[in-house]
Symmetry: C2
C-alpha cells in the first residue's frame, strides 16, 4: 500500500497513529539537526519531521538530500507539532518519519511550482503537466469538474436525457469553417467535426426524446484570437413542446443552481431586454449590467446650435460617469486619446463636467450655454460631481464606440466587481444580418432559428427587420449561452434557406435529411447552448477560457507540449488517398 | 403553453382537471360515433376521446382524420374510463377533448413505429430518427443515460476529477490506425483523433491530479467488423499511488454500483484468474463463467494407445457437456460439422457418450477400452448422462477451437442466461505478443504498461514470457474493460520502446514529452478503461453495441442518414493544402 492517508487528511485526532504518506516534496528545511519536509499532494500539505538522534542518521541524510518535486513515500507516527501552523488544516500535526523511500527523483522544474510562478506562458504551456501541478491552476480544473457534475445533476433531475451525438459528421458550408477528416474506406470523401450538434439534437426532438442535453466538444477551424480555441465545450440542450418562456425559466433554473451549488452565490433575478434596447442603451448585445451608465441620446438637445460635428451626426449620445467630474485635465485628455485608438475609432470626445457647485464646464462651451448643458445633465440624470462623456457620428459606429467607453469607465471607476453577477436575457434578436463581404443575408443565430410569426411576412419585403425567437444569456457583459425556438416544418425551413441564398439543390444536399424529418411529425421545439469554457471562466472570475482547459492550444492552434499538429508519413497520406499541395 | 402534463402523467386522481396534452398520434379508432386517439410521448400514452353529440361535429371529424404520427395538441377534461386498461399507468382515465390542434402533419412512416417493426436495418438506419421513436430503441438510450449519470455519481464521490482531454492530438503509429485532421493554419501538418486519452491521463497523474476519469469519445480507423464503430465511448480512469489491488477493488466498486443502481442486480464477487489459466481452462482470455465446462487435458490418458491423431497432437483436451449423452447421432454429426467450419477450423471431433446405464460409447471405440474411456470421464468429473467432446492438435489452435465449441454448447444447453452476470478479473497478461506479419513484438496492452518486476530480467532473454501488471474485467465472456499499472520512469519506458522496435529517435519524436514528464516527479500510477458502448449492451442484454449508440455508422463507416462522409469542395481542399490522389 503506497499510502494510508492523503497529505490533506491528518488532524490532531490522529496523533499516535502509524501512517504512510506519498506525495511531492514541496520544500526541505534543515536546521540544528532537524529536517522538515513539506509533502504535497492534490489534497493538501503535511509536514514530515526527521530528528537527529531519534531518527537513523542515514534517514536524516536522505531526507536532507531530497530535491524539490521528488516523489517520496514516508511512514511513521503522527505527532503533535510544537509550533502549530493555523493556516493549513494539517497544521497541528506532523509525521515523525521512521521510513523514507524515493519513488521517483525529479529534475529541477523549469519554473517554480507555487501559486506565484516565474514561468512565462509559453514555457508553462510546454510543461503544462507541471503548470497543472500548481494549486491555483488545478483548482480551476476542479471548478470545471464541479460545474460538469452539478450541470448533470440538475438536468437529470428535470428528465433531460444525455445523448452522445456523433463527432464524425458531414461538412456544411454555413457557419464557420469545418475541420475535415479524410475517410480511408470511402476514398475521396471526408467527415467533418461538428461545430455543434444542432441538427442531431433537432432530430432527437423529432424522435420524441423530449428533453436532451449533452456536455460536448465542438470544433471550429477559425483564425484564432486570444480567447478562442479550435476545440471547445458546450452544454447543449433541446426541449420539445415548449415556447420561449419555458426555455428561459428552465435555464434560469440551471444557472441559479450552478451559482448556488458551485459558488454558493444566490443569483439575482435574470433581467430581460430586447436586442433593440440593448443596442440603444448599451451599444452592445451583451451589456454589462453591474453598473448603470445607460446611453442617453442627445440629438434633440444638442443639434442645431451651431456645433457642426453634432449637427452632422446621425447620433449624439452620452453616458454619465458618476463622481468623475473631479478628473483632471490630464485624465480627460487620456480618455480622449483612448477613444481615438484604432480599436475604438471615435473621432473625438465631448465632455461636460458637472461641478460640485452646480456649474457646468464642457469642451464645447463655445457652442452651448449653461442652460443647454444643464438640459443634457438633466436628461442624463446627472448629479453634481458627475462627468458626462459624449460621442457622435453614425448610429452603429457611435454606439459601438460609446459601448467601449462605457466599459472602460466602468472598469476605471471600479464598478465591475468580479464577485457581483448580473444576469440578463437579451431577446428578440434579428433573424438575419447583412454580410457586406458576400453581399447576402446570413443567419444571425443559425439557419434553423424561427422568425417571430408576426414578422414572418417581412421576410419578403424587409428581411433585415424580421425578429427571431432567439435569446442570449449574458452575465456581466459576457455571452454565456444562446438559443432559439427552431423551425419545425419543411416549408418554413425551405423559405429560410432560400433567404440565406441556398439553391434548392444545395439545401437538399446539405440538409435534406432534416427537412425530410420535419415531414414525419416534428414537434415544436427549441433549445440553447452554453459555452462551457466561458461559463467556467466567469465562475472562476477569469477573463481567459484557456485557464479552464486542461490542455489548451496556442493562438496558432498548436499544442506545444505534445508538438501537434505534426507531419505524417507518406504511407498515411497514401492510405487516405490524399497528397500535400503546399502553398508558397 | 403547449402542454400542462405529459402523456404518461395523468391518473385517476386527476379526474375533473382541465388539461392540455401534446404528442404523437399512435392510433385512431372510430366506432359508433366515438373517436379514440392514443396520444404518445416519451413518458407514456394517454387516450383521448371525442364523442358524437357532446363533441363539436367538426372536432369529431378532425379527430377521425388524424394520421399516424401526426403531432397534435388536445385540451379538455380528464374523465374516468368506462373500460379501464390495467396494462398502462394512465389506463384508468382518458381525456375528453374539447379542443384539438394539429401542430404538424406526418407522412406515412416508411416502417411501423411499434416495438415490433417491419423495417429492415438499412431502412431504419436511414430514418434513424423514426427508429429512435420506438420505445424499445429509446429505452436503450435511456439506459445509456442512466449508466453515464451513475458512473459520474460514483466517481465523483470517490474524488475522481472529470477532466476533458483534447480531441485534436498527435498521430502515433503504435496501435490501430489514426483518423487524421489536416491543419489549415499549420500547412502540411495534421492532427490525429485520439484512440484513447492514454498519454494525457498519465500526464495528469504527473500533474498530481491523483484521480482522473472521463467518459470520452475515442476513434479508430479500422476496417469495420459487425460490432465495431469508428467512434466509440470509453469510461477512462487513472489513479496515482496505487497498486493493482487498489485498482481492482475501486472498479469492482464501480461495476457493482452500476449493477445495483441501474439494473437493481446485486453482482456476485468478482472472480480472479490468470491469463495463463484462462487460456488453459477456457481457451480464451475472456471466459464466460456463467457455466462450467472447463477444459480437461487428456494427453496422458489418451496418448500411446494407437490412435494416431491423438498421438500426434500437442494437446488433447475435452469438455463435458452435462446431460447431453442423449444427443442423437444426427445432433452429434451436426456438432462435428460445426467444428469443421472454417470459422472454427477443427479437423475432427471425438465424442464419448456417458450413458445413463454407466456404459460409455465413443467415436474412437476401436482404440480405447471402456476403462480408458472411464478414466477420461473421471478426469472430467462427468456423470452418467453427460457427453464428452474432445479436440486435439496444436495447443493454441485446439484451445481456440475448444473455446468456440464450449460457448456453442453453453448456448445450446441454455446455460448462458442473459440475466445472470458472472464478472471476472483476468490477471497477469503477457507484456508482449509476437506479431508474425511485422516480425516483432507488439505491446499486448499498450507500450505504457509496466512489466512485473520479477519478470523484468526476462525482457532481454525471453520477452514473450514477461508478464505485465495488466488486467481485464470480463463479464459473461465479454471484455468490458482493461488496464494496467503504468511505467512511471524514463529508463523503463525507453527499454520498453526499444523492445517494441522503436529507434531512440522515433521514441523521442513521438513520446518524448511523456518520457520527459517522467523525469519531473512522476508518481506510481495505473488505470483502466471500460468500453462504454459494450458495457451498456451487456446491461441491456444485447449483443450489438450499435443498438446503444444514438446515431451509429454502418460497416463501411457511413452515416446513411446524413449521408456522410461526403465529397468536399475544391476550395476546402485548397484551404487545407491537400489534394485528392485517388487509387483505381
Amino acid at each position: 500500500m503506497l499510502r494510508t492517508h492523503t497529505c490533506g487528511e491528518l488532524r490532531i485526532g490522529d496523533v499516535g497513529q502509524e501512517v504512510t504518506l506519498s506525495g511531492w516534496v514541496q520544500r526541505v528545511r534543515n536546521k540544528g539537526g532537524l529536517v522538515w519536509v513539506d509533502l504535497r499532494d492534490r489534497y493538501g500539505v503535511t509536514q514530515l519531521i526527521f530528528e537527529e538522534g531519534s531518527s537513523d542518521p542515514a534517514l536524516l541524510e536522505k531526507a536532507a538530500s531530497l530535491g524539490r518535486e521528488f516523489v517520496i513515500q514516508a511512514s511513521g507516527e503522527v505527532i503533535e507539532r510544537t509550533s502549530k501552523n493555523k493556516k493549513i488544516p494539517t497544521g497541528e500535526i506532523e509525521l515523525k518519519a521512521a521510513k523514507l523511500d524515493v519513488l521517483n527523483a525529479a529534475k529541477v522544474p523549469p519554473f517554480v511550482i507555487e501559486d506565484e510562478t516565474d514561468g512565462g506562458e509559453e514555457l508553462r504551456m510546454k510543461y503544462r503537466y507541471l503548470d497543472l501541478r500548481r494549486a491555483v491552476v488545478r483548482e480551476k480544473l476542479q471548478l470545471r469538474h464541479r460545474m460538469m457534475q452539478e450541470t448533470r445533476k440538475f438536468m437529470d433531475k428535470l428528465d433531460f436525457m444525455e445523448v452522445e451525438t456523433p463527432v464524425l459528421i458531414k461538412s456544411t458550408p454555413e457557419g464557420a469553417r469545418d475541420f475535415l477528416v479524410p475517410s480511408r474506406i470511402n476514398q475521396g470523401e471526408f467527415y467533418a467535426l461538428p461545430q455543434s450538434p444542432q441538427t442531431f439534437k433537432q432530430l432527437l426532438m423529432v424522435s420524441g426524446f423530449d428533453r436532451y442535453f449533452q456536455i460536448v466538444k465542438c470544433f471550429r477551424d477559425e483564425d484564432l484570437r486570444a480567447d478562442r480555441q479550435p476545440e471547445f465545450t458546450q452544454i447543449d440542450c433541446e426541449m420539445s413542446f415548449v415556447d420561449q418562456e419555458d426555455i428561459l425559466s428552465t435555464f434560469e433554473g440551471l444557472i441559479k443552481h450552478l451559482f448556488a451549488n458551485v459558488k454558493k452565490v444566490e443569483l439575482p433575478e435574470v433581467e430581460r431586454m430586447t436586442f433593440a434596447d440593448a443596442m440603444k442603451y448599451y451599444g452592445n448585445d451583451k451589456p454589462d449590467l453591474r453598473f448603470d451608465m445607460k446611453f442617453v441620446e442627445l440629438n434633440e438637445l444638442s443639434q442645431n446650435k451651431g456645433f457642426k460635428i453634432f449637427d452632422d451626426a446621425e447620433l449624439v449620445a452620452g453616458i454619465c460617469a458618476p463622481g468623475a467630474a473631479a478628473y483632471t485635465r490630464k485624465q480627460i485628455d487620456a480618455i480622449t486619446e483612448w477613444v481615438k485608438r484604432p480599436q475604438v475609432g471615435a473621432k473625438g470626445l465631448v465632455y461636460v463636467k458637472y461641478n460640485e457647485d452646480g456649474s457646468l464646464k464642457s469642451s464645447v462651451d463655445k457652442f452651448y450655454s449653461q442652460e443647454d448643458l444643464k438640459s443634457w445633465a438633466e436628461a442624463m440624470n446627472a448629479n453634481p460631481g458627475d462627468l458626462l462623456l459624449i460621442l457622435s457620428g453614425d448610429t452603429n459606429a457611435t454606439r459601438k464606440q460609446l459601448s467601449e467607453l462605457r466599459l472602460k469607465m466602468g472598469s476605471d471607476l471600479g464598478l465591475r466587481d468580479k464577485n457581483t453577477f448580473k444576469p440578463l436575457w437579451v431577446l428578440d434578436f434579428p433573424l438575419l444580418e447583412w454580410d457586406e463581404e458576400s453581399g447576402r443575408f446570413h443567419a444571425m443565430h443559425h439557419p434553423f432559428t424561427s422568425p417571430k410569426s408576426e414578422d414572418f411576412a417581412l421576410l419578403e419585403t424587409d428581411p433585415g427587420a424580421v425578429r427571431a425567437n432567439a435569446y442570449d444569456l449574458v452575465i456581466n457583459g459576457v455571452e454565456i449561452g444562446g438559443g432559439s425556438i427552431r423551425i419545425h416544418d419543411r416549408d418554413t425551413q425551405k423559405t429560410m434557406f432560400k433567404h440565406l441564398g441556398f439553391t434548392d439543390e444545395d439545401a437538399q444536399a446539405q440538409f435534406g435529411f432534416l427537412m425530410e424529418a420535419f415531414e414525419y411529425g416534428a414537434p415544436p421545439h427549441g433549445g440553447i447552448a452554453f459555452g462551457f469554457d466561458r461559463l467556467c471562466a466567469i465562475f472562476g472570475g477569469s477573463d481567459s477560457i484557456r485557464d479552464y482547459i486542461a490542455f489548451p492550444k496556442n493562438n496558432s492552434g498548436r499544442d506545444v507540449m505534445i508538438d501537434s499538429p505534426s507531419a505524417i508519413s507518406e504511407d498515411q497520406l497514401q492510405e487516405l488517398s490524399i497528397q500535400l499541395a503546399l502553398k508558397k
